[in-house]
């Protein structure tokens, strides 16, 4: 591979160039990036093989956060597993709860009340906003812009307030559960939530001014870490990382569960606005646009919630018996396709639980993208793929 690159770009052959101009010869070096590196977003350790400023190879080493989450699932009843799913992708706990609940419901044929479905959509989308806010803020931080991070957290805080009012926790919600949600939304929820959306929506324009279209930020992210659509599909990317490459694929549209087909929203994809299609900036900007779309969905869902009285939970959600059958169920989480494989054996406790975390699959492309770019671009690329280590290691 290196030969091909060198043939086509002789200027990349640093040793040759250095020989010609009489510069020092460099040596290959193994550099450990992480697990405590601030821009690896958690305990990701990447071993970089570098030659001067060039990265020749990047191998992610994972497993620092491994908690046997799947094995635990084979020892507790499904409703007891919900809190454990919170801790996988800890920035989007609601989406994890939702994926596991939907999988169990599909396996057992449990009917979810209409009102619960609307509440689920609201919370899943609000959590998507919160998660993308962290992603955006932290990405700015990686690129040297501190301010957007603080603003993003300020906005996220108010989403967490709404979550706290509904379920009593700010990070590990366990709110969406088998057969519905644990509790009805509190009084005045619709008004408070709508007030928040009115406050939040103009902020997106502010982020764009402050970060997205800032020339310094664009210079660091555009044309860096380009993933072509074909490559993205081949490596099994999903979520904003896939859509950043211009692929129109979103499970909320492909198989709409929870009644997503009743909402009016678009799927933003990367367009190569600032550089080549599928670069870091495109992936970043897809997230910004997705927040806008989530706001749209939540607005519609709030209208719907007002007109959907009734139960918020199925009575037998806690006592479901899993049939001797298996299921694989996927939803569009905040980071991509989040799926659960569950095999039942006729008892209350699953025989096998397996999770497909989008971060894990997205991380696999690291070496492919990172190699042959500059060391300073590594945080830009890793940040734009947006992995959450809790989900990679599980």
């Amino acid at each position: 591979m290196a030969d091909t690159v060198l043939e086509s770009r002789p200027d990349l052959n640093l040793d040759v160039v250095r020989d010609e101009i009489g510069d020092v010869r460099t040596e290959e070096m193994l550099v450990n990036m992480g697990p405590q590196h601030p821009s690896t977003h958690g305990v990701l350790r990447i071993v970089l093989r570098t030659d001067g400023e060039m990265v020749l190879e990047a191998v992610p080493h994972i497993g620092y956060l491994h908690r046997c989450a799947e094995k635990i699932g084979e020892n507790v009843a499904p409703y007891q597993y919900i809190p454990y799913t919170d801790r996988m992708d800890y920035l989007a706990g609601m989406n994890n709860n939702l994926a596991f609940s939907l999988a169990i419901e599909a396996l057992t044929g449990l009917e979810v009340p209409k009102r619960a479905q609307v509440i689920r959509v609201i919370f899943a989308e609000m959590n998507r906003i919160a998660s993308h806010l962290v992603s955006m803020g932290a990405y700015g931080l990686d690129m040297g812009a501190f301010t957007p991070f603080l603003y993003a957290f300020r906005e996220r805080e108010r989403i967490l307030d709404l979550f706290e009012a509904s379920c009593g926790a700010r990070l590990t919600y366990s709110y969406i559960t088998i057969g519905g949600v644990t509790d009805d939304v509190p009084e005045r929820f619709i008004d408070v939530c709508r007030e928040y959306l009115d406050y939040f929506e103009p902020k997106i324009a502010e982020y764009n001014n402050l970060l997205s279209f800032n020339h310094i930020f664009v210079k660091r992210t555009a044309n860096v870490g380009i993933i072509s659509a074909e490559k993205a599909i081949n490596w099994g990317l999903s979520g904003p990382s896939l859509r950043g490459s211009g692929v129109k694929w979103d499970l909320r549209k492909v198989h709409p569960d929870c009644g997503y087909d009743e909402y009016d929203f678009d799927i933003p994809v990367g367009q190569g606005l600032k550089g080549q299609l599928g670069d870091c900036w495109d992936r970043y900007f897809v997230r910004i646009q997705e927040m806008q779309q989530s706001v749209r969905i939540v607005r519609q869902a709030l209208d719907k919630l007002a007109g959907t009285p009734g139960e918020y939970k199925h009575k037998s959600g806690k006592s479901v018996k899993l049939p001797k059958d298996e299921i694989y169920y996927e939803i569009e989480g905040a980071r991509g396709q989040l799926g659960f494989f569950i095999q039942g054996d006729g008892s209350q406790i699953p025989y096998r639980v397996k999770a497909r975390g989008p971060s894990y699959c997205n991380l696999s492309i690291t070496n492919e993208v990172v190699k042959d770019c500059l060391l300073a671009d590594v945080p830009a690329i890793i940040g734009s793929i947006d992995v959450v280590m809790g989900e990679v290691d599980r």
Binding site: M1, A2, T4, V5, S8, R9, E57, V59, V76, Y79, Q80, Y81, I82, P83, Y84, R87, A145, T147, Y151, R154, E157, R158, D161, L162, E164, A165, C167, G168, A169, T172, S174, T182, P186, E187, R188, V192, E206, N209, L210, L211, N214, H215, I216, N223, I226, S228, K231, G275, Q276, N367, E368
Partner: protein, 191 residues
Amino acid sequence: MSLDWKQTDIVFVDQPALGAAERLYLPQIWGGMKTTLRHMFKKALRDRTVVQYPEQERPLRVEIYRGVHRLNRDEDGRVACVACFMCETACPAHCIHIEGAESPWADREKYPIKFDIDELRCIYCGMCEEACPVDAIELTPEFKLVGKSREEMIFDKEKLLMVYEQTKNLKPRKDPAITGYPETGHRDRVP
């Protein structure tokens, strides 16, 4: 690790030419600073957002926050738990250990002589509270939990009852309807 690359897979992108102003980056920095400064001088906004934590505290929505457990007392001051083991069964982290005994009172059969919760193992999911038929075990809004050893963090019956004494004004037994929302921003600490 190396894969065969086709020549067509490699995309080369040329750097766009920069004007003199762009090369300085100063206008861009100023553009970003404008937003920052605007926020910086809005004092009201800042006060609502920033909490100087140890000196100030953020009002939590006290009623349903899932913090440290407590074991409630009933109207007569007796421990309300009837040792039915529902919470122990429901707990996904297996951190509740109860030993029941014949109750000395006429209105119930059993009561707990031992009731331990390992607060370090607990994942604060609230399922024990949900499972309890007599609202004896509840989670309190108390989230500041400190201990010097692991043993200290295993709360026994006395300690759990003590937490009840400390928090009963904050959250009455059998939660009332919830109407409030947490407010972002600080509130000066009540001494």
